[in-house]
């Protein structure tokens, strides 16, 4: 098949057809997967102290990029678009301003950006990226939880079999793994603070699970 490195922009141009700005005007309120859990009121009325703190970062832009880590042109294009290079080390991540990129697979990265910038960045990619790649907006399909507190690590140990010891799970490491009976992409943002990217249809289950597993420590909702 054709050499990945010399497919013209025109050849890949056709893929533009399907992209669209999926976010409506601000008069329409988006409902994140945990919308009905109403974290805002829970944060106000609920307990203020406890071993587990939970916050939802909702309505961010989730972009799944799949391309060739050996393709220098593609790597350069990504850096042009995002101002930061793709993390090529397995299970690593990078952050730059409002953008953060997670290694998901040897040819897959999850990029989180502010919700309203999603389409702009998609467009930039479509203009800049050469060769064979795919870019998918998955913003509606998942949400981001931030789990922190003195017992955050212990709680996660109950959900995932990945070793969370700082030596084997340093800040910045990201893993896609099982979370109880669902899945999550877990990234350590500091010693006691983790980011969980979870799927929309499983979010109620995970919310229920976290509440149950937190009973021993006390759960504080932040908003």
């Amino acid at each position: 098949m054709s050499d990945l490195n010399n497919m013209t922009a025109a050849e890949s141009a056709a893929t533009k057809a399907a992209i669209m700005n999926q976010v409506p005007g601000s008069e329409i309120e988006g409902q994140s997967p945990l919308h009905h859990a109403d974290f805002a009121s829970l944060a106000q009325q609920g307990p203020k102290t406890g071993g587990i703190h939970l916050r939802e970062h909702k309505l961010l832009g989730h972009l799944t990029l799949r391309c060739n880590a050996e393709n220098a042109e593609q790597l350069a294009a990504v850096e042009r678009v995002l101002g930061v290079a793709l993390p090529l080390q397995p299970l690593s991540s990078v952050e730059s301003g409002n953008y953060s990129i997670r290694w998901m697979s040897p040819d897959e990265w999850l990029i989180l950006v502010p919700g309203l910038e999603t389409f702009e960045i998609e467009t930039k990619f479509r203009d800049a990226m050469p060769g064979h790649y795919s870019l998918v907006n998955s913003s509606g399909g998942s949400t981001v939880l931030e789990l922190s507190g003195d017992n955050a690590v212990t709680l996660l140990q109950k959900a995932t079999s990945v070793d969370l010891h700082l030596n084997s799970f340093p800040v910045g490491k990201v893993v896609s793994t099982l979370f109880a009976k669902s899945t999550a992409t877990i990234r350590r943002i500091d010693e006691q603070r983790f980011e969980l990217v979870i799927r929309r249809s499983f979010s109620d289950y995970i919310w229920l699970w976290i509440q149950d597993a937190s009973l021993e420590y006390g759960l504080v909702i932040e908003a």
């Binding site: 890949s12 999926q22 988006g30 998955s138 229920l208 021993e216």
Partner: protein, 1005 residues
């Protein structure tokens, strides 16, 4: 009753904290630090159970996991009942309620006991294989009698009020057992900087060091223990788990630890706490420091309450300040047995005699006994015990040097307690769990851990090393080895000074002979809980059950809740003797998880009730709930099944929903359908290979239906795929098939066709899909969009990118109902908004939400299949009459092509999907019904096929069905019969499965 057997001082109990407990309805007192067993002994309770076969009175014989008799029912309330709790492992708490399990009217006076005495002789091993056969019809009665008699405790009748937890752990070194060897290993590994987990089943660390009177560095051993534990708890990377039993050792150094968090506090966990926790450990290295279990000797009436193992007697005295009797006779084959007598004497009670089966053994312990002037009878044995509910005396006689024959006269001694030691059995259970077979050691007189592929080390008693000095050293060595293996530097540890003890050689003796042959002597028990006797084992061997596995299974030896921890080796010895073999020649004994029993609740942790399995919801779920929808489980999804209104029967609801769609417009939440985004210039080629039909010419903006087959040619999924861009498609799959289809695409791409430039991404959750369908669906859509949705501009099987209710959407004009339909896809964050706007605007058209059931009826009226309902893995596209969906012009031999051309797939008379119209239009053939040509023929009748889909069609005013008939496609108009359970027969005519709008005009308007 006061605690008449409690010493005024000594032991590790807290006399300042008295506790009250109940046993068989009677209240007793004990102390904090007691086990239920030690408290019972302190109160002079002799009989704790009735044996399961002979109903003989049984007492406490041991002090730990090996206890076979003291197995009680626990629980103050119905919901907190726990069956089969081993009293020797249950810590005493205030208000503990316990009861013995067998025996009627009571464990002390049991009528079964009489039956046991009389009928006992008619119950040799395996007797049940030899009887209860005549008459055949009576077996059910016999069986229910057997079942009532069997079983120990009972399950609660109410739900468990407690919660359980499971947690994943990782470490460099997992140390099992916190006796001298384990603690030395832990200290070494911890100082060396390793991540360590050390677990012990008891309430505090120290193991044997807490049971004796031994000194370390000249101080009581417990002080060294305290210091070590204190240091270990200072390390961040060391996890100390008391009250935690390592129950299973699985492949690749995976271990399960069962931690009892609150069982020592109450029989229900304090609020917000978990009762028990399973630790799922992945260890780089494992150190087994599990110690050894003392073996009782096998002698006549050795099950009378008051017969105990020697070490247990010492433990009750030294650790719990309880002397379980007044007059002790010790029988031992080794030096350690003497310790019980020394401790007993120290406690100020009478040692009647130490009966040593050896001639003139001289070791430090034997000499200590001599200096104390204790009565030592050498070269002899206790050949029989007197008493029924408590030992009253023993018969002692001389033994031949080999220990096989009684010689000389019999002396009777008065005593109420017999402590025996037949040596020690290393606790090798865990090492067996991973499939390693133990090896017999003549010097140890026991089995040792066998070769293993696990990263496993052993130290102390498990190696047959019972002297503290050696145990400490082996623990230290194991710790250093583990450090080296995980790449850490050796640690600096100075082991404590021990009192070196000279030990005389033990005698290898298990079964004490009697004056009479074993078959005629009073019962000599090998396995107490299963009532297996030495005579029983001899019978099994005589009958030809010669492999030890046969002996165990035929006699049930080792099948109790203690899994033969006390009895197995003795049993093998008896069998070996009967077969004139050595013990290893009879085979080995292999242990399996669990080491000790674990509550189901602990094993499943939180994965029960609401968390048993995830419920997946769409963005509109909350709306459906508010509308009172009933839900159908499809995979993990909760899909609206139908939306009943007040007073409606299900059928009335379905009729209303169906008519609404056919006459005006209905709305369906189709978000659960699998969606896979496909990009790359070879996407089209790839589709052509995984679908049975052609994709080369599908234009941008168009949709197409496809069938997916396996390499065997059988259909396993279907769906519509839209061409979004020249190199960009979105595929839909069945709700249940999404994950499988995605993996299907990936496996072929990654392993077979990596050269194809294509990427797949699951976008199921990203899009919310509201399907509006019915003659008024276009009007409704038009109200919410500025885009031109007229038939000229937006054709059937087109898709468009337009704005609906202010939200950018991809709208697909495809139809699963045969009506004019639009599937509106928006980013799920806006799904609810669009849905609510549609409902609002749809009101004037009587927009009707409908669920999966109505969807199924509507599609069946059109003869559309549902993969998984109208397919079962044994039908290919032609069987479904869907040859139109197969393209054999494609250059590439797509998946399924070759499969569906195998001889059996092309033969005549295959089952084919057809429509079925009942002669009586009102009759609905039950789904699953089987067709025959002649219902009156003799059974077995040849089945022509089954009904896969069947409904009442309100639209058509008659029932409709789809089903399979052998050669059905060539049998249009013929009649088949469906015999029902009640003997009636439903007659139906084979017809086309398309019952409604056969020309397909309605979806094209």
């Amino acid at each position: 009753m006061t605690q008449q057997n409690r010493l005024t001082s000594g032991g590790r109990i807290d006399r300042s904290t008295p506790l009250t407990f109940t046993y068989n309805g009677k209240q007793y007192k004990g102390f904090k630090g007691d086990t239920l067993a030690s408290a019972m002994l302190a109160n002079g309770i002799d009989v704790v159970a009735r044996s399961f076969k002979y109903s003989r009175p049984r007492g406490i014989v041991a002090c730990g996991a090996e206890e076979p008799n003291a197995v009680l029912q626990l629980g103050a309330t119905e919901a907190t009942q726990v069956p089969n709790v081993r009293a020797t492992q249950q810590e005493l708490f205030n208000g503990l309620v316990s009861a013995s399990t067998n025996g009627w009217p009571s464990v002390d006076t049991d009528v079964m006991g009489m039956i046991g005495k009389v009928g006992g002789n008619m119950m040799p091993p395996g007797f049940y294989y030899k009887t209860f056969m005549f008459p055949e019809s009576l077996w059910d009665t016999y069986e229910s009698m057997i079942r009532k008699a069997a079983g120990i405790g009972r399950a609660p009748r109410e739900r468990d009020p407690d919660t359980y937890d499971s947690i994943n752990q990782h470490c460099d070194v997992m140390i099992v057992g916190a006796g001298p060897a384990g603690l030395a290993a832990a200290l070494t590994a911890a100082r060396g900087g390793a991540r360590v987990i050390i677990a012990d089943e008891q309430n505090e660390f120290g193991g044997s060091l807490l049971n004796g009177t031994e000194k370390l560095d000249g101080k009581p051993a417990s002080e060294w223990v305290r210091a070590v534990v204190e240091e270990l708890s200072r390390y961040d990377d060391v996890l100390l788990l008391p009250r935690s039993t390592v129950n299973g050792y699985h492949d690749h150094n995976f271990l399960t630890i069962h931690e009892r968090c609150t069982d020592h506090l109450a029989d229900i966990a304090p609020v917000n706490q978990v009762r028990q926790r399973m630790h799922r450990v992945r260890a780089k290295w494992v150190v087994l420091a599990t110690g050894a279990h003392e073996r009782p000797l096998v002698y006549a009436n050795n099950d009378v309450p008051g017969c105990m193992v020697a070490g247990a007697v010492s433990t009750y005295i030294n650790r719990y300040g309880v002397v379980p009797g007044n007059e002790l006779v010790v029988m031992t084959t080794n030096d350690y047995g003497y310790q019980a007598a020394l401790d007993w004497a120290d406690a100020g009670r009478k040692v009647v005699a130490i009966v040593d089966t050896r001639e003139a053994a001289v070791g430090d312990r034997t000499e200590a006994a001599r200096q104390r002037g204790l009565n030592i009878i050498s070269g002899s044995a206790v050949i029989e015990v007197q008493g029924t509910k408590r030992v009253t005396g023993v018969s002692v006689a001389g033994l031949s040097a080999s220990g096989t024959k009684v010689i000389g006269s019999v002396t009777k001694l008065k005593a109420d307690t017999v402590a025996t030691s037949g040596g020690w059995s290393p606790v090798i259970h865990l090492s067996c769990h991973t499939g390693s077979r133990p090896v017999w050691s003549d010097s140890v007189v026991g089995f040792l851990p066998g070769a293993t592929v696990q990263k496993q080390l052993t130290a102390g008693g498990i190696n047959g090393q019972y002297e503290t000095a050696i145990a400490l050293q082996e623990g230290f060595d194991a710790g250093q080895k583990a450090l080296a293996e995980v790449g850490l530097a050796a640690a600096n540890v100075v082991l404590p000074e021990t009192e070196a003890m000279k030990v005389a050689a033990p005698m290898s003796l298990f079964h004490i002979p009697h004056l009479k042959p074993t078959s005629q002597a009073p019962k000599q028990f090998v396995d107490y809980q299963t009532d297996v006797t030495a005579a029983g084992i001899e019978i099994a061997c005589r009958e030809g059950f010669e492999a030890i596995e046969h002996v165990k299974r035929y006699t049930a030896m080792g099948f109790g809740t203690d899994q033969g921890k006390l009895g197995n080796i003795n049993g093998m010895a008896v069998a070996a003797k009967a077969l004139n073999k050595s013990i290893p020649e009879t085979g080995t004994t292999v242990f399996r998880p669990n080491y000790t029993p674990i509550a189901f609740g602990a094993i499943i942790g939180r994965n029960c009730g609401a968390l048993f399995e995830p419920e997946r919801y769409t963005a509109m779920h909350k709306w459906h709930v508010q509308q009172g929808a009933l839900f159908e489980d499809v995979g993990q999804w909760k899909r609206p099944w139908y939306f009943p209104q007040a007073g409606e029967t299900m059928q009335q609801t379905l009729n209303r929903e169906c008519l609404a769609v056919r006459n005006s417009v209905g709305i369906l939440d189709a978000s659960t359908l699998g969606k896979i985004d496909i990009q790359g210039k070879d996407a089209r080629e790839f589709l052509g290979r995984v679908y049975s039909n052609a994709w080369a010419k599908l234009a941008v903006g168009k949709c197409r239906y496809g069938l997916m087959c396996g390499e065997d040619g059988m259909v396993f999924d279907d769906g519509v795929t839209a061409c979004l861009g020249e190199n960009h498609f979105v595929m839909t799959t069945t709700t249940g098939g999404a994950a499988h289809v995605y993996e299907w695409l990936e496996i072929y791409h990654q392993t077979e066709w990596p050269e194809l430039e294509v990427y797949f991404n699951t976008v199921t959750d990203h899009w919310s899909t509201a399907t509006i369908t019915g003659p008024n669906s276009r009007k409704l859509l038009a109200e919410l969009t500025d885009a031109d949705v007229t038939n000229d501009d937006f054709r059937y099987m087109d898709w468009k990118q337009i704005t609906v209710a202010g939200v950018p959407a991809r709208v697909f004009r495809i139809s699963f109902t045969g009506e004019l339909s639009f599937e509106i896809n928006v980013q799920a964050n806006y799904g609810m908004h669009v849905w609510e706007k549609l409902i609002e605007a749809g009101a004037k058209y009587g927009l009707t939400p409908y669920g999966t059931e109505t969807m199924h009826i509507l599609r069946a009226e059109k003869g559309f299949i549902i993969a998984g309902q109208d397919t079962d893995g044994s039908v290919h596209p032609y069987d479904l009459g869907m040859g139109w969906c197969v393209s054999n012009q494609k250059p590439f031999s797509y998946i399924g092509k070759r499969g569906m051309n195998r001889s059996d797939c092309t033969r005549e008379n295959r089952k084919q999907l057809v429509g079925l119209k009942t002669k009586d239009p009102k009759q609905v053939i039950p789904e699953g019904s089987a067709a025959v040509l002649d219902p009156k023929g003799p059974k077995p009748l040849e089945i022509q096929g089954h009904i896969s889909s069947s409904y009442w069609s309100e639209t058509l005013g008659h029932s409709i069905a789809m089903g399979f008939i052998k050669g059905g496609l060539d049998k249009m108009g013929e009649t088949v019969y469906y015999p029902m359970a009640d003997g009636t027969v439903i007659e139906a005519e084979i017809c086309s499965p398309i019952f409604f709008d056969p020309k397909g005009e309605r979806q094209n308007v």
